[in-house]
Symmetry: C2
Subunit: 498 residues, 2 copies
């Protein structure tokens, strides 16, 4: 495939070069805002990573571990749904930095936010928001995170990334749990003494309940609730917190409706039994609307309504981890909106495509004293400025509708392909463009991802042998057509073999 | 004090307004780069927080807990060593966003980095650095974090903030600990099964040893090593990890030399006993060069050399937490440089003034497989762009020498004041401008901080009743003169009373 040059891209590149000569001072700024999405992928090296990526990774490997690197990105040239690598390969990106780029590379509105004076001030003067918040912070929160707050949750605790969003939510849950049981409102001498030695009653034995195959992050508290893969957890001490079974549905859903309903009922009953009788009391349950790292495992709205019901009945908080599902990818801004709960979750955590991270919560979850759930920065103003622009893009351009229609269009291709190539593709599932299918083995999945990349489509896996779609919210049916043609070509090649 | 207007500031403000009218398009940019530090503080409200701060906090309190807020910052107008609040008060800032602003508000070099095209690209296209690093990342690391790497530590793991820098360092320590003991190099069936249930042997009982009064962050792993205050830890489950005694030195150091040496010897002996016989084996020891949140507690280079010796003898890693002490404030770029160790620490963690966060380490601490110490973003390119500018400012302007001379000058005033006002100020101590003194009670400390703020100097406390100096690295003797005049005035007022 070496030497295969996409003409459109070559012309675009030459145009950019010409424009760059005009006004050297603003050359790069102009070049970026003039970037146009290629009409189709272009792969110009025989392997990915190509020689330029490899040279860059070699340089980097003296300073950081590079063994997980797929290729090196050229983010000045990446545009819209296309990531460009250091070798000039232009790949349709269906993985998007592990599901974390919302509205396209070098999106004009995001770049404008990045170049604003407000951004420069926020970067150059990072405030300790808990002590010296900036004057523009309240309005910024209103125009960004609060603009899309989940119904029933009026407050937001801002943090740095998904793991600590979850961890800080757990701390809020534990502080709340203790307050509900501390009639006096003051700490006892025994608590004050034992807590400095990490012993009960000050540091109590209380748990967060999570689900098999769930992923909630990598720091010690988050990792104690993560149950995705042994490699994520091995050799790291963990809290003795329990796990509940997550439903393993069979596809297609309509064919196995009754069996799946039974499976969900069984999982709910086991979950309730843990809430009732776990030796360590449970302060909160955390759940993903779609288990993402764990293999794109799903459950029905009925299951989640049941989970809300039993957590409420047992006085246990419900935390919905929308780090990967949030920000419109499932066809609603928050995936849990599709459950039609009759009372909201107690906390909803977010990060990734939102760029800012944290969790929404009710007033009841503010601790009884200040400084208890606290840290130096308490959030990230620059990322929240990006969130404001992202939320505006999503709402003003009605990208939620676009995600729904593009997702349906993609599914309408995936389902027939999963019949035609059933030895390679099964269990097509998902919501919006947050879709997935299974390969028969991890090795076949690896080969498929590898061949797709050489065909110009960057994709990612999840779980043991699943392929996950995590495109931008700006994906259109035209991109789907590009994807499908490359996908069919790869499936054809592979089908001869398996 | 209401109505007290600083003439210089008023003139500067009017000049800025005039300049703003000239070219509306670039008004704010110009205004920022034309900011000039006031010659002295100016307090125009009778209380701080003043009415504008209070109105902003009221707005914010519907969305976030504001009980820890001191006042609201106007970061467009803050300049150099002066923070300006929402009411127009101009305060000499000796606390600097909990020790996290390195080279002054709206520093021209930092603003230039914030406004660069490279910054805009990095913000608008946040990469998952572990999988798709950006082409400019290796050179950026060389020009920023690697430019000031501690001797002996050639690699750097980048993260988001101090807590997770420490947590990820702990994970590296635990993975290393297990590898040293796993002769086969492969995970056993028992490990693979138990780890998903958070049980040994997969999730082993291994510990990080930390010191009494130490502070290492607020997430669950970090918090299990934090021993600063009960309020930081209460109601949060913690790992059963031990704590060692940290020396409690007596001041002045020369008077109590022998007694202090004995105290350090005792603490080292107890630490070694824990390394030898703790029921849970210890993978690493973490220590701050100066315990900061815990009350500016110090130990001698001898103590730290002893700690390095015993950790090495017991095959235990040594992590130096330079989150607060790092970046030149103690008069060397890293505080631990002053210990003259004969072999380097195994890891050094950083955040705060560095703006980027993470830890330096040796090649030996890279896990045996990729994806083990991993997360979505694996660092923060925009903050590392700021780090490059910060490091250049520090090195090119030789701010380390300035910190040393300004620190000596400040101490030369504090020591006589601690004699003259000995009922209020004692135990003057520290290195560089990383200084502190003790007040007799928490209440007197609170009153002193309150009065200093009304005199136009923003300061912070640490520990039970200490006052800590955490000024910018750009503090000069002229600023010290301003501080000393206000400080004397406050001490005079208070001395009548106590």
């Amino acid at each position: 495939m070496l030497g295969r040059i996409n003409t459109t891209a070559a012309v675009a590149r030459s145009l950019r070069l010409r424009s760059a000569r005009l006004q050297p001072q603003f050359a790069r700024v102009r070049a970026m805002s003039q970037l146009v999405e290629p009409r189709e992928p272009s792969v110009v090296t025989s392997k990915i990573p190509g020689p330029a990526s490899l040279a860059s990774l070699k340089h980097l490997s003296a300073m950081q571990d590079t063994r997980a690197a797929a290729f090196v990105g050229d983010y000045e040239k990446s545009v819209g749904n296309y990531i460009v690598d250091a070798d000039g390969n232009q790949l349709l990106d269906m993985y998007c930095q592990i599901a974390s780029i919302p509205v396209g590379y070098n999106n004009a509105a995001i770049l404008a936010a990045a170049r604003s004076d407000q951004m420069a001030t926020a970067l150059a003067n990072r405030p300790a928001l808990g002590v010296y918040p900036s004057a523009d912070w309240p309005q910024l929160l209103e125009d960004s995170l609060l603009r899309v707050r989940p119904a029933g949750l009026d407050m937001v605790f801002t943090s740095a990334h998904g793991s600590d969003a979850n961890e800080i939510a757990y701390k809020a849950a534990f502080i709340h749990y203790a307050r509900m049981r501390r009639s006096s409102g003051v700490f006892s001498a025994a608590e004050l003494e034992s807590v400095m030695d990490n012993r009960p009653p000050g540091s109590p034995n209380v748990a967060i309940l999570s689900f098999s195959s769930g992923f909630h992050g990598r720091t010690f508290g988050a990792l104690s609730t993560t149950r995705s893969k042994a490699l994520h957890k091995m050799d790291i001490p963990a809290f003795p917190w329990p796990r509940a079974p997550f439903p393993q549905l069979r596809y297609p859903l309509d064919k196995y409706a009754e069996e799946n309903a039974q499976e969900e009922k069984r999982c709910l009953a086991e979950t309730e039994e843990i809430l009732r009788s776990n030796p360590v009391p449970i302060a909160a349950v955390i759940v993903e609307p779609i288990q993402s790292e764990g293999g794109d495992r799903q459950a029905s709205p009925d299951f989640f309504r049941g989970l809300r019901r039993i957590t409420r009945e047992h006085g246990v908080l419900l935390i919905v981890d929308e780090v990967q599902t949030g920000c419109a990818a499932t066809g609603s801004f928050w995936a849990h909106e599709q459950w039609a709960l009759d009372s909201p979750p107690d906390m909803v955590t977010f990060s990734k495509k939102m760029q800012a991270a944290g969790f929404y919560h009710t007033k009841e979850l503010v601790p009884d004293q200040p400084y208890r759930n606290f840290n130096t920065w308490m959030g990230d103003v620059p990322r929240t400025l990006l969130t404001r622009a992202i939320v505006a893009e999503v709402l003003d351009k009605d990208l939620i509708s676009q995600v729904r229609s593009t997702g349906s269009y993609l599914v309408s291709h995936l389902k027939p392909l999963s019949i035609r190539y059933h030895r390679l593709v099964s269990n097509v599932r998902g919501q919006g463009t947050f879709l997935a299918f299974d390969c028969p083995t991890p090795e076949i999945r690896a080969e498929l991802l590898h061949l797709m990349r050489l065909e110009g489509v960057n994709m990612g896996g999840s779980g043991e042998a699943s392929v996950r779609f995590r495109p931008m919210l700006t994906l259109t049916s035209a991109h789907v057509n590009v994807f499908v043609s490359r996908f069919e070509s790869v499936l054809n090649k592979m089908y001869q073999k398996y």
